[in-house]
């Protein structure tokens, strides 16, 4: 398959390399230094950097502007876009805005519910859902048309991705749900943080059985734990997260001052194990407010240096 867009992430995946992406959350203010600083820390160790879109419904500097800052540094951003805050006019407009800056990757999401964030009294839009946003980007790119049917002058050239949570319920539709996202136009998938490797491997086997790994690139999502407390919080409080007791115990049995190190070790071991899983095309390392640890993880997992394409 030849690349359909100028995306570096797409080229790396199509060349058969294990891709590495990571993500940075924009600041709660207008100073771009923070996002630039985070990106500088990881830029040599990843192929592309996701910029989150008001994650957990907490209002922040926008994803698009942050992506432009990265682009100006010569980096490869992945524009995350949620359907929670914008209707189809704003979504398509922002896609064109991003394309005008030659932002070549987009991740289509529905977004956390606003009740989790700083604006629980706000409206949510959901004019489209995440699958319909996938279809929208593909239509804009492949047909050169707006949803309304009019032609787009210089259509966006974006590599189109979606998220998948292999651990959410109902489990019986985890694979059909992925198939549906592929049908809607997803070309790459970044998964929810994986701690339950057996369950993830089962999901991968099922999707390989359906041949879905030949239609979409699966990037396995990993978030290193900073402490046993974080593991317990993720296990008990974060919806859709599957943290096995063994992981919590391993961290809890480690002295407090060594837990962060142990969390990183678990993350590296997971990558090494998942590298061997059929259908895994790369890794998405989400080190939440811990970006400085990404280079070490990538190196220790044997994913460095990054290929040039």
């Amino acid at each position: 398959m030849s690349a359909k867009t100028p995306s570096r992430l797409e080229k790396i995946l199509r060349a058969g390399h294990l891709a590495v992406t990571s993500e940075c959350g924009p600041p709660r203010g207008s100073d771009p230094k923070e996002i630039v600083h985070k990106a500088e820390m990881i830029k040599n160790h990843v192929d592309a950097i996701n910029i989150t879109d008001n994650q957990t419904s907490v209002c922040r500097l926008c994803s698009l502007a942050s992506c432009i800052h990265l682009k100006q540094l010569g980096l490869e951003p992945v524009l995350q876009m949620v359907t929670r805050d914008r209707n189809r006019i704003a979504l398509q407009s922002d896609i064109l805005g991003a394309a005008s800056w030659d932002i070549h990757n987009i991740l289509c999401l529905s977004g956390d519910h606003q009740s989790f964030g700083d604006s629980p009294q706000g409206q949510n839009v959901h004019d489209l859902d995440s699958l319909q946003l996938l279809q929208t980007v593909r239509k804009m790119r492949d047909e050169g048309k707006f949803l309304g049917g009019d032609d787009i002058k210089r259509p966006p050239a974006m590599f189109v991705g979606a998220a998948a949570n292999p651990f959410a319920d109902p489990f019986e539709i985890r694979v059909p749900r992925l198939a549906k996202k592929v049908k809607a136009g997803a070309e790459f998938i970044q998964t929810q943080c994986i701690y339950n490797l057996e369950k993830f491997e089962l999901w991968m086997r099922q999707l390989v059985d359906r041949g879905l790994h030949e239609q979409v690139y699966i990037l396995a999502g990993l978030t290193p734990m900073k402490s046993a407390g974080m593991a317990r919080y993720m296990k008990n409080r974060v919806p859709g997260m599957d943290v096995p007791d063994a992981v919590v115990k391993r961290l809890a049995d480690t002295p407090k001052d060594k837990q962060a190190e142990e969390g990183i070790k678990i993350c590296i071991e997971s990558i090494q194990r998942l590298k061997e899983v059929k259908g895994v095309a790369g890794f998405h390392i989400m080190a939440i407010e811990w970006e400085e640890k990404v280079p070490g993880i990538v190196e220790a997992a044997g994913l460095y240096p990054r290929p040039s394409v």
Binding site: H113, N124, H126, D169, E172, K183
Partner: protein, 221 residues
């Protein structure tokens, strides 16, 4: 039916405190089922407000009355005398009744309820939302369970990543609409339908298209 919930006495008092003759006016159909705005509830509310007036030392006459439906002209006739007597009405109908009444009479009509949703009686005392009147029913594709009314993100193609053990990420007491849909499709042996992409919805039949109206030429006089 339309479900409503009585506003706090303090808020109602703020609305009516400047008037001398207040009629608390019930609506005995939808909002009577949830026991918030029927004629009986209007009667109870009137006595509470009389007590409030006494406490506040305000001279005020408060009466109650009610009709079957405040959203149709024909029912108002029998209460005409009471309505004319009042210099303000506190209507315990839904927002439709309050507005319909205000259009008919040149006097203040205040809402006694917050109109909350279109729902069903799940069991005695439990009223649950089932429809958002989007104007284009999709229940045929979703096993008879509406994701617009019952999913907090009104997702049309499946659950978000926050669906856990059958409940929604916003609250453990809220069932995940898509878990219900999947269970139902399985029960009906229709799971293959899950992978059909839901078309991008035309929201012009919903609130987005402006106030809606249905005209039936055939039933007009």
């Amino acid at each position: 039916m339309i479900v409503g919930e009585q506003k706090p006495i303090e808020e109602l008092w703020e609305s009516i405190k400047g008037h001398q003759k207040v009629l608390v006016f019930g609506c005995n159909t939808c909002v009577a089922v949830c026991q918030q705005g029927g004629n009986k509830e209007a009667e109870i509310l009137a006595s509470l407000l009389r007590m409030k007036a006494t406490q506040e030392g305000v001279e005020m006459e408060i009466q109650d009355s009610g009709i079957e439906r405040q959203c149709e002209h024909e029912f108002f006739e029998k209460a005409e005398g009471r309505i004319q007597w009042a210099d303000a009405v506190l209507s315990t109908a839904c927002g439709i009744g309050v507005q319909f009444m205000a259009e008919k009479y040149a006097k203040p009509v205040y809402p006694g309820l917050n109109t909350t949703f279109l729902g069903a009686v799940e069991k005695l005392g439990h009223y649950v939302e089932r429809c958002q009147a989007c104007g284009q029913c999709i229940l045929a594709a979703t096993g008879g369970i509406c994701p617009i009314a019952r999913c907090a993100k009104r997702l049309l193609n499946g659950p978000c990543g926050g669906s856990t053990k059958g409940h929604c990420e916003i609250n453990k007491d809220v069932p995940c609409a898509w878990q219900l849909i999947v269970d139902r499709l399985q029960q009906l042996n229709l799971m293959e339908r899950y992978e059909d992409l839901a078309p991008i919805k035309n929201w012009s039949t919903d609130r987005a298209g402006g106030p809606r109206k249905l005209v039936r030429e055939d039933v007009q006089l």
